[in-house]
């Protein structure tokens, strides 16, 4: 699906990530942890080609990202659902329209029942007509997750998707990701929440990637 080969990245200052080599296999479930500022968000941005590596190669669906045209990248993004850490919406359009946006920009129509089911699952059924600026932080995160999965993407990259929600809701969101994973989707979740990781490990074969000292490595069973 997505593979990194000796990837390094810096924002112009010192090296933030280096010698990153790994493969996100189809159907795998990974957590991404590391101290704040260690580069989790940067890693995810490299994975969906918002950033290009300073050196090394990122391969997206079997193609090196540097060889992709702008339209190629757009088409790749239709197969990747992303939950940003700083969630952004089209603030002038109601929540339901925002959640369906990936479908509308790719010219696909949506089944209203699917939309209602999805919004119900993330607990936003009653807010489908609300405008994004009126939503709470947690509601925005849930809406972002709904938007990320509505296309049934091959890969879901979620950056702190449970950062602002209570434990019960975290479990619901996790359940959604686990179900998608069981359908064969590749999932990466960046999080600080060790309880969430433990909870997930009891449900799926999740692995933990840890960023420390600029390297991304598989963590041991002890986390």
């Amino acid at each position: 699906m997505i593979s990194f080969e000796n990837v390094a990245y810096n924002y112009g200052g010192g090296e933030l990530l280096s010698e990153v080599s790994l493969r996100l296999a189809p159907g795998s479930f990974h957590f991404l942890t590391g101290p704040s500022g260690s580069g989790k968000t940067t890693f995810l941005k490299l994975a969906y080609a918002e950033l290009l590596p300073t050196s090394g190669h990122v391969t997206l669906f079997d193609r090196e990202v540097r060889t992709l045209s702008r339209d190629d990248i757009a088409h790749s993004r239709r197969r990747i659902g992303v939950v940003h850490q700083d969630v952004q919406f089209l603030d002038h359009l109601p929540l339901a329209t925002n959640v369906q946006l990936p479908l509308s920009v790719s010219g696909r129509s949506s089944d209203p029942r699917d939309l209602a089911d999805l919004l119900g699952w993330v607990g936003l059924g009653h807010l489908s007509d609300a405008l994004p600026p009126s939503l709470s932080g947690g509601e925005r995160q849930r809406a972002a997750l709904a938007r990320a999965v509505i296309m049934g993407p091959d890969v879901v990259l979620a950056d702190e998707p449970t950062g602002n929600v209570d434990w019960e809701m975290s479990l619901r969101l996790l359940k959604l990701l686990v179900e998608l994973n069981k359908m064969g989707k590749t999932i990466v979740v960046a999080t600080h929440d060790l309880n969430l990781i433990r909870q997930a490990k009891s449900q799926v074969a999740a692995r933990v990637l840890r960023i420390s000292r600029r390297r991304v490595q598989l963590a041991g069973a002890d986390l």
Partner: protein, 304 residues
């Protein structure tokens, strides 16, 4: 041909209302008005520039036509020789190739010509007035220099006035005026393109978040650009239609041109000329389309 067809289809698909795609760009107040107003004002001005060009074109050809076809010979001679010289000149003209007809103006006609200055009771016979002989040029025309020389030989008092002296600068001025009109239209069009580019850039910059979100969920550049382009093109079309209509009404309300109408009263459209202003709104739409499309694709590449 194929590429033209493709471009045309792209324009058509861009302009076909796609409510969903249009709504992704928030309706923004001031750039919307700027575009509509600019297109309206520019088209309004364009109507006048067009009227000016057409009118001065008509004027140029009318002046050269009318003045080129007739000429006057002024014959000054002592009263007792007047008739003889007149006959000589007429005889000479009758054998000059290129002169269709020639005739001496009668005393009544000369009196009528002079009446505005001296009143109706002018005793023409008593005054040492030159005799006027009017000649109408044939096709092909006569050789002006040759005629002058023959007149000098046979009727020394005769002077050929073929109007070229003052016809040429007038026709030239009218031609220049027409050129200025076309130049103005070009400038107005370019200015409109530039203003709409500015408005589009402002709108694109104000909607950076919208663009980021759309990119994130997999929208291709053409989809994003299309949402902006459609909006600006439609606004420009609407503004230009209003501007063209207003301009045409103003031109129509100008005082009527009569046969003796001077230049100012001749400013307007005639016949098929009235159809030309209808071309301006689509033209404004094309300008807006090209300007926004270029601005949008450029901005999108910048944003990565």
């Amino acid at each position: 041909m194929n590429r033209l067809q493709e471009a045309f289809q792209q324009i058509v698909s861009y302009l076909t209302p796609d409510r969903q795609a249009d709504r992704v760009v928030p309706p923004s107040g001031h750039t919307a008005w700027l575009t509509t107003f600019t297109a309206g004002a520019m088209t309004f001005l364009c109507v006048f520039a067009l009227a000016l060009s057409l009118a001065s074109g008509r004027l140029a050809s009318r002046w050269s036509d009318a003045l080129a076809r007739t000429a006057t010979i002024r014959l000054a001679a002592p009263p007792d020789q007047m008739q003889a010289q007149t006959d000589a000149v007429l005889a000479l003209l009758a054998t000059t190739p290129g002169v269709a007809t020639a005739r001496a103006l009668s005393d009544d006609e000369q009196r009528a010509l002079l009446a505005p200055w001296f009143g109706p009771d002018l005793p023409v016979d008593a005054l040492p007035l030159p005799r006027l002989i009017e000649l109408v040029e044939g096709d092909p025309g006569y050789d002006g220099e040759g005629l002058r020389q023959r007149l000098a030989a046979e009727a020394p008092g005769a002077v050929l006035d073929d109007h070229t002296r003052w016809r040429r600068p007038l026709a030239e001025a009218a031609g220049r005026l027409r050129l200025l009109g076309w130049l103005s239209i070009l400038l107005i069009g370019t200015t409109m393109g530039a203003m709409i580019t500015l408005a589009a850039n402002a709108s694109l910059a104000a909607n950076a978040q919208v663009i980021r979100v759309l990119r994130l969920v997999g929208a291709v550049d053409n989809y994003i650009a299309g949402a902006f382009v459609r909006r600006f093109t439609l606004r420009a079309l609407a503004g230009a239609a209003a501007g063209a209509l207003a301009g045409m009404i103003c031109v129509a309300l100008l005082p009527r041109a009569d046969a003796a109408g001077g230049f100012l009263t001749g400013l307007g459209f005639t016949g098929f000329g009235w159809l030309l202003p209808f071309l301006l709104p689509p033209l404004a739409g094309v300008v807006a389309f090209a300007a926004t499309q270029r601005a949008a694709l450029q901005k999108l590449r910048e944003l990565q």
